[in-house]
Structure formats: structure tokens, C-alpha cells
């Protein structure tokens, strides 16, 4: 008898069905109209850098927000695969999707899984309408990759908890209404570092919350420091169980790591470079084919992972693989186009705008959501090396 073969690192590819193809056409048509009407200018990395609450509400009206939230909570009751398709179409045209990104990807699913009935009834309809905007508060000044070392404290008080500490790299906190904060609700036990952590739903307009900008190297303001100075969290704003924070934040990582935002952040630049090669303002170069091929294969890989997640299969290793490959590729696209252009050449101003933004955003691609070094470790563990 042969040994039982090890399952593949990434689930087998699947072919998109007719329902999804029609949905793509519908979204694509809407987006073409929006661009035509000058509603937005296609850009790179728009899930972090382009914030437009009106656009978010328009998507909600079309039924493309709260997609995986059940209809009884005001959502669309659709599948992760339908959301995948809508997400891809939004990202490839560089639409302004940052305002709802975190809520659509993480907050909604987490509330569905861990929220109380009251929390679901309160937040999910608002998320689905685009009326409430969420951030996520995980990293801290001394906790980057080592998330279990967070020091924000949650102290038990009458009727709730008081949160004190500092969260950093909170995207859009200055525009957001609330965020999920991971905090230590019991003293650190060095032997069991993942215990004693809890998640709290924090109203960012509450007293004791102070938000300070962190300006990125291009001069833009996307990130923030969020200082929590004894912020009162009522008991009904605890997410899930006290002490279960680590399991809660790590259980949804498959979706966070394997989605299309991990390979499409610079797609507008790639598309503009293809056009420039056709027009002759950039030299036709085989490197374009290489990068296009990788994006095409990443689309298939990411869709395969989403299909596995939809079927509740374990896909942590596969999701890490998508993120390592995808974020490297989207960054390489920026560098690749840069190697084709001459300094000071501004014949195609739009291409330059996209290129410069991509170069400046690039370092973040392989850092956010788990650095590629951490993720290679996750893959190695999945392969049985750790």
C-alpha cells in the first residue's frame, strides 16, 4: 500500500459557475458607469487609501454590502463566493472601498460568529447599509508580529470594563465610528500567552478615546494611533467570551489573508502599463506577461481557497500561501513598472501617479495582516516542519 498522500498545500482549483459570471457583469457595468460619470478616479491600493462613504452607501443600495450577513440582520444572505466576485471587480477598477473594507471583510463575519443577538441586531443592519464604519485595533507600539504581547488592559468595573492602552496602525480610525480592540483582561501568564485576551467593541466617539494621525511616507493620512484612557465598555459590548480573544481573532484569518486584496492592490498600474505598451509609450516587454500570468494564477488560487472556506474546510496554510505570493507579486508589479520608466519622463501623467502611489504603498503590502516572514513560518508549520 502506498502512503496516504499529503493533501495539497492549496485546495484544487474550481471553475466559476454561471451565477458568478452574471454577477461580475452586473458589477462591472455599474462600475463602468461610475467611472464614466467621474464618480471616482481609478487608483492603487484603494482598500486602504480611498475612503468614500457615499460610494459605500451606493454599493449597499445595489446589494453589494453586507453580502454574507443573513437577511434577518439586514444583509444580503449571499455566499462568500459571491462576495469574492464583487470584491475582485471593485478592486480591479481601483474603486474607493476603504470605508467599508474592515466591516465587510472581518467585523460582520466576527459578529455573526461571536456576537450576541443584541449586538447582531444593532450592528449588522447598519454595516449592511453602510451607516456605520469600523476599524480594527490589534497592533500596539510594542506588539507587531507578536500579537499575543498586547498590553492594552481591560479592567473589570461595575457594569463593564475599562480599557487603557494604545493601538497603532489603525486604518481609517479618524473616519470610523467604532473598532474591535484586543486587550488583556487577565494578567499575562508567560506559560500560556494566548490566554487572558478578550475582544471589545469600542465606540470611537466615546470619552477617553483620543485619535492621533500617523502620516505615511508619501504624506498621506491613513493610519492612526488610538489612545484609550480608561474608556468604559459596557458589558453588552464585549465580543464573544472573556478570555477567548486569541481564538476569536485567529479563527477568521483565512478570509483575511487569502482575499483578492492580497494580489490586486496594484492592478490599475499593471493595466495602465499594458495600455502604455500597446500605445508605445512603454516598451513591450515579456515581464508584463510574467506578471499578468501570476495575477491570473493567484485569482484561481484565491478562489479555490474561498471555495474551501465556504465549505468550512481548514485552509490556514493555503491562505498564507496566497498572501505570501500575492503581496509579493503586487509589490513586484510596482517595481517592475518602475524599472521600465525613465526618471523625469511625464508623458503619461496618469501612469506616473499610479506608479508613485504603488511604490510608496508597496512596503506595506508584505507587512499588513501578518508579515511574509511570519506567514512562511505558518506554511512551514502546515508542512510539518515546526
Amino acid at each position: 500500500m502506498a502512503r496516504e498522500p499529503r493533501p495539497p498545500v492549496v485546495p484544487p482549483v474550481v471553475v466559476e459557475g454561471e451565477t458568478l459570471r452574471r454577477l461580475r457583469e452586473e458589477v462591472r457595468e455599474f462600475l463602468a458607469e461610475q467611472i464614466e460619470a467621474g464618480r471616482f478616479t481609478p487608483h492603487v491600493d484603494t482598500w486602504l487609501t480611498r475612503w468614500d462613504r457615499d460610494f459605500t452607501r451606493d454599493l449597499a443600495q445595489r446589494g453589494w454590502l453586507g453580502m454574507v450577513i443573513p437577511t434577518e440582520y439586514g444583509g444580503q444572505g449571499r455566499t462568500y463566493l459571491e462576495r469574492f466576485v464583487v470584491t475582485e471587480e471593485l478592486l480591479v477598477v481601483g474603486a474607493p472601498v476603504a470605508a467599508h473594507w474592515v466591516a465587510e471583510r472581518q467585523i460582520g463575519p466576527s459578529l455573526l460568529r461571536y456576537g450576541t443577538e443584541g449586538q447582531k441586531r444593532h450592528f449588522l443592519p447598519r454595516i449592511s447599509r453602510g451607516d456605520i464604519v469600523f476599524g480594527i485595533g490589534m497592533s500596539e507600539p510594542d506588539s507587531g508580529s507578536d500579537l499575543a504581547s498586547v498590553r492594552t488592559r481591560a479592567e473589570r468595573v461595575d457594569g463593564g470594563w475599562r480599557l487603557s492602552g494604545t493601538k497603532v496602525w489603525t486604518s481609517g480610525a479618524h473616519e470610523a465610528d467604532a473598532f474591535f480592540a484586543l486587550a488583556r483582561s487577565a494578567p499575562l501568564d508567560p506559560a500560556h500567552r494566548h490566554q487572558g485576551l478578550s475582544q471589545f467593541i469600542v465606540d470611537l466617539h466615546a470619552s477617553g478615546v483620543e485619535i492621533r494621525p500617523i502620516i505615511s511616507m508619501g504624506g498621506d493620512h491613513h493610519f492612526n494611533e488610538v489612545h484609550l484612557d480608561g474608556v468604559l465598555i459596557p458589558d453588552d459590548r464585549v465580543l464573544g467570551a472573556i478570555g477567548e480573544g486569541w481564538q476569536q481573532v485567529t479563527s477568521e484569518l483565512g478570509f483575511e489573508r487569502s482575499g483578492p486584496e492580497r494580489y490586486l492592490s496594484t492592478f490599475q498600474l499593471l493595466a495602465a502599463a499594458a495600455e502604455a505598451m500597446e500605445e508605445g509609450s512603454l516598451p513591450l516587454d515579456p515581464g508584463l506577461g510574467r506578471h499578468v500570468a501570476r495575477v491570473a494564477a493567484l485569482h484561481q488560487m484565491s478562489f479555490a481557497v474561498s471555495t474551501a472556506l465556504e465549505a468550512h474546510a481548514d485552509a490556514d496554510t493555503a491562505a498564507a500561501a496566497v498572501k505570501v505570493l500575492g503581496t509579493t507579486t503586487e509589490g513586484d508589479i510596482a517595481d517592475y513598472v518602475d524599472t521600465l520608466t525613465a526618471s523625469g519622463w511625464i508623458e503619461d501623467e496618469e501612469l506616473y501617479t499610479l506608479l508613485h502611489a504603488a511604490i510608496l504603498q508597496r512596503p506595506g503590502f508584505t507587512l499588513r495582516g501578518g508579515t511574509n516572514e511570519i506567514l512562511r513560518g505558518v506554511i512551514a508549520r502546515g508542512l510539518g516542519l515546526r
Binding site: 466559476e16 499594458a274 500570468a293 495575477v295 491570473a296 494564477a297 512562511r376 506554511i379 516542519l385 515546526r386
Partner: protein
């Protein structure tokens, strides 16, 4: 799950067939002789595969084949390549049998290989030509294509070997044998190139997946500084990149195989889709071969070790039916002509 099926269609090969093939090639790998510098055709293995109906797995039943789809065909090619099996499954079963069917020529099942001779009737790099009873030649005759089934004894062979030590001969045909051959449809020439490229991609994927297993075993067993080398992050990262690159190549290849199987190669997007596979496979091969040899250390460079039985054919096959550079150029041309607004539909469907 019924709902999921409506959204996404799976095209996995028949699990019973895959299980049988995995056992068969595992048995072959565990009993084959130690690697040698020269790779020779294995007639015993071939006879066994022939008895099981595997040598012409994807050829139609009416022509003496087993009538399986490309999904099964690609699984066979991958598992055989993973075992380093020295048999021309792609040449005989996938390409040769198909060309004979297209030409309406009989197929007696004797060992065949394939090639595309130039206008002077000469073909280079014809794998296992010296072992074949006949050579199926696809010949461009002006603006049409002909397929000839020429007994090897009617050709002049110059024996050569490729990087992997496999028979890879130069074949000189008599022009009269080619000129008299039956005409085939115009599309056959183009499709031959695509089918060859995808068959090679499937073989390289299978071999790269076996490389990952060899590397993992070594990283767990080899100890330095008092612990298995797989415990070091530097090694873990080399291995992780082997896994991710070969997974990307697999996703691209399986996508092309699924599209070929479901549309019987009639989809106009096949050129792009096969190109994506060939490009991803080709670039993955660079990382996989480099990192595997780095992890295995000096022992992996020796003749007695299994690793070169995989890495050398990986490099040979990624460059057949179009170099990596040529396929990247083809994709670049398709992408550029699609332009900014049509690049994404091109990526999804292969069509402009």
C-alpha cells in the same frame, strides 16, 4: 453544497484512478534501479502501463484509447513525472495518438513519439525516437498541415541526449514521406503547440510536488547544530517558497486542464490560459530547483541521489513547446492588445 456547486464547478480527476496511479508509480519508484547518468526507456514499465490502458489514456476508445479526459491525462503525466518514469506518455499517448486521430490514420498501439520537422525534413530533440517503432510527424506544408506516421527505420537518426540524460535524437525524414501524408485541419498546428505546452506543465508540476516531499523528508531527518535543519527559519523559508511556487504553478496548470477538458480545446481562450500555466510553471521551476538543491546540500548534487532525477527533467520540460521567455512574450502581447479595460476579462476568460 448543492448551492455551492451552482457557484463553483470542481473538475477533479477520478479519485479511484488517481489512487491506482499513485500506488503504481510509488511501487515503481521504490523498486527502480539507482539513478544513472543516462536515462533509458523502460520497456517493462511501458508494457505494464499498456496492459492497464494507460499509454493512450486520453485517446478515443474507437481508436484504441481509453477515452479519458485531459483531467485524468494530466494526473497521469504528473504522477509519472513525480516518479521519474522514463516513458514517453506525453509523446505517445497525449500528442501522437491525437495527431493520428486527427489525420484519420490507424494506431496499432506500438510505441510512438512525436515531432515537428522543419522544411528540410529535420526535427531536433525528438524524445525516445530511437526506442519508437514509428514517429508521428506534424509537418507544415505551405499554408496547410500534414501528419505522417513514419516507421523509425525509414528515418535517419542521430543519437543525442538532453540535459536530463534522456534519449533526445535528431531525426531526418525523407521529404517524400512527409509530402505524401494526409492533410489535417488548420487548427492542428496551433493546438499541437498548446497541447504539448500543457502536457509539459502537468509533468513539471508533478515533479515539483515530489521535490517538495524529498525536501521535507531531508529537512526533518538531517541534523546540524543538534537539531533537524527544518527547525531553522532560514530553511523553513526556502521550503515554504518551494511550496508556494509549486502551488501557483499547479493552480495555473489545473485551470488550463479544466478549460481544455470542458471545452475540448475549442475555447478561444486556450492560448492565454496555457500561456499562464507555462509561465507560472517556468518561473516556479527556477525557485523550486534552486531552493531544493540549497536545502539538500552537497548530497543532493550526487548521481546516486533522487533529486536530480526530478530537477533536471523539470528544467528540460519547462523549456519545451516554447521557452519561458517566448510564453511571457505571447502573454505580454495579449495583455497589451487587451489594454487597460480589457486586461481583467482577459485574465478571467483568456479571451480579449
Amino acid at each position: 453544497m448543492a448551492d455551492l456547486e451552482r457557484l463553483a464547478v470542481s473538475t477533479r480527476p477520478d479519485p479511484d484512478l488517481v489512487g491506482m496511479l499513485a500506488d503504481l508509480f510509488e511501487a515503481y519508484r521504490s523498486t527502480r534501479p539507482a539513478p544513472t547518468e543516462r536515462v533509458e526507456f523502460d520497456p517493462a514499465l511501458w508494457a505494464h502501463l499498456d496492459e492497464l490502458g494507460l499509454t493512450r489514456l486520453t485517446a478515443s476508445e474507437s481508436s484504441g484509447g481509453s477515452g479519458a479526459s485531459w483531467v485524468e491525462g494530466a494526473a497521469l503525466l504528473g504522477l509519472a513525472a513525480a516518479a521519474g518514469a522514463p516513458v514517453p506518455l506525453a509523446e505517445h499517448g497525449v500528442l501522437g495518438a491525437w495527431l493520428l486521430e486527427e489525420a484519420g490514420l490507424p494506431n496499432d498501439g506500438a510505441l510512438r513519439t512525436v515531432c515537428r520537422p522543419d522544411p528540410s525534413g529535420r526535427a531536433l530533440n525528438v524524445t525516445f525516437a530511437r526506442d519508437a517503432a514509428a514517429i508521428v510527424a506534424l509537418w507544415e506544408d505551405g499554408d496547410c498541415w500534414r501528419v505522417a506516421d513514419v516507421p523509425t527505420e525509414r528515418t535517419r537518426l542521430t543519437e543525442r541526449r538532453n540535459l536530463a540524460g534522456e534519449p533526445c535524437d535528431t531525426v531526418q525524414f525523407e521529404l517524400a514521406d512527409l509530402e505524401a501524408a494526409p492533410l489535417v485541419a488548420d487548427t492542428v498546428g496551433h493546438q499541437f503547440h498548446l497541447r504539448g505546452a500543457l502536457a509539459r506543465s502537468a509533468q513539471v508540476c508533478g515533479a515539483m510536488e515530489r521535490v517538495l516531499e524529498v525536501v521535507l523528508t531531508h529537512a526533518r531527518e538531517r541534523e546540524q547544530f543538534g537539531r533537524p535543519i527544518g527547525k531553522f527559519q532560514a530553511i523553513q523559508h526556502l521550503v515554504a517558497d518551494i511550496a508556494t511556487e509549486s502551488s501557483l504553478a499547479r493552480a495555473a496548470t489545473d485551470t488550463a486542464v479544466a478549460r481544455a477538458a470542458t471545452t475540448n480545446w475549442q475555447d478561444p481562450g486556450m492560448l492565454f490560459t496555457v500561456g499562464v500555466a507555462k509561465s507560472c510553471v517556468g518561473h516556479a521551476a527556477s525557485v523550486v530547483v534552486r531552493n531544493a538543491h540549497q536545502v539538500l546540500g552537497a548530497i543532493g548534487t550526487t548521481l546516486e541521489h533522487e533529486l536530480h532525477v526530478l530537477t533536471k527533467p523539470i528544467l528540460v520540460r519547462r523549456s519545451e513547446y516554447g521557452s519561458v521567455h517566448e510564453w511571457d512574450e505571447t502573454l505580454a502581447e495579449l495583455a497589451a492588445s487587451a489594454g487597460r479595460d480589457r486586461l481583467w476579462p482577459l485574465i478571467l476568460t483568456g479571451r480579449r
